[in-house]
Symmetry: C2
Subunit: 257 residues, 2 copies
């Protein structure tokens, strides 16, 4: 029986700047069913403020504690370990890492840097790694659906480049890290087995959530979904559904009364 | 008993624009011992003409057929398979791929593009791959010793990025591809077991040559060598020597009379 819902954002709730048809109404139905929600996004190009404002513009009100991002998890990690970040992230995201200058060592933080990924910036991060800096990956997604509708290289590709050259393995902070899913549920007092995840990434969202112990994970046919994704990764989705509206039907029919 | 010698260039014969001390004299001693030589380089930033001219400037005369480069192997592959290249290589190298426009399909060719590696160029190559283009890697080296004396990211890192995102595996044309070592020996009428490789890359040069069946592979302490490299990869070097001069002593003492 489902008691809590984790929702991916890009490709599930919106695509680019546009709501996916029926998404706001679906979120509202989940709220009216009394299900606590958490939005778990690997989008690492926007600040939390910008994401919450974007959702508000689509008629979806999200409280600060309902949004989990890898950047917040990274800041927690850096504070806990006393490290200064060497950032290889989108320029818009840098502000979220301010106030961490006092650390005793360094940690390379890789997010979706977009156009800021180039030979020089990757090489600087590589040299930090071989000099002994810690290695944090905000996400390891392979691809995302870009503004032109085609797939583009996501953070995971650049993390793989640094990993291959340095021989170092990253600490992954976003999905599919089990800790990321669990921390999303931590203040809901809900066992993982009673939660469902909805995503368009069969690997990071769906297989990741099931591996983290969630009771169910639904793959939507929106966003970056491509036919066959439902059989491409293990574990396979609990169900394949058209979109968030259909996922909501499934969830409400499986919810604790 | 050694009957033929394969020599790496960067880090063995020269570093940047400078001969490594004693290298020209060592090459001359190998020639006087009657040992046929092949220069097998993964350097993919320079044309064959430029490499031969650079060696001549150091007093080392190399005939065209003595130099094997991954670009030449790639051009052979593209001709044989009737493919047009989509190049992600150093701009200086593009000229070696002229005259291949008539192919029936496309192949992404990745070399050490240097500053030409950026988000846009990598993404264009990625999109070719997921659209079905073949995938050729001129090399998969992890690092090289850069002009400032520090290690930098080499081609293999960017190949790994494309491989991770596309789920495609490259055909590797340079070292450590067994075919590359074997083609270097093909016109020497020398069994692989009677040949020795000398290199500064314990993985690509040394383990690669031994895996390809060469009888011996010597690791030099020049170039990108870092202490401990001799135990980092399997198979381990036949011997660890100071430089090409010391390698030459070893080779001459093991040569067929």
């Amino acid at each position: 029986m489902i008691r809590a819902v984790l929702l991916d954002l890009l490709g599930v709730v919106y695509d680019g700047d546009t709501q996916i048809a029926g998404a706001a109404a679906a979120v509202e139905r989940l709220r009216q069913a009394g299900l606590p929600l958490r939005f778990v996004s690997n989008t690492t190009r926007s600040t939390r403020r910008a994401i919450i404002a974007q959702l508000a513009g689509m008629g979806i009100k999200v409280a600060d504690e309902e949004l989990l991002t890898p950047a917040r998890a990274a800041v927690d990690w850096l504070r806990r370990h006393g490290r200064q970040p060497h950032l290889l992230v989108h320029p818009d995201l840098e502000v979220e890492f301010s106030g961490l200058e006092g650390g005793s060592g360094r940690a390379v933080v890789v997010g979706d840097a977009g156009e800021a990924f180039n030979h020089a910036s990757l090489n600087r991060a590589f040299r930090e790694l071989i000099a002994g800096a810690d290695f944090l990956a905000l996400a390891i997604n392979r691809t995302f659906k870009d503004a032109d509708g085609l797939l583009s290289l996501d953070t995971g590709a650049f993390v793989a480049a640094l990993e291959f050259a340095s021989g170092r393995s990253p600490v992954v902070l976003g999905k599919p890290s089990p800790n990321f899913f669990r921390s999303a549920l931590a203040d809901l007092n809900c066992p993982a087995a009673d939660a469902v995840m909805v995503g368009d990434d069969a690997e990071s969202d769906v297989a990741g959530a099931l591996s983290a112990g969630l009771g169910a994970a639904l793959l939507v046919r929106t966003g970056k979904y491509r036919p066959g994704d439902e059989t491409r990764f293990d574990p396979a989705p609990t169900a394949l559904v058209d979109d968030l509206a259909a996922a909501t039907d499934w969830i409400i029919s499986h919810a604790a009364a």
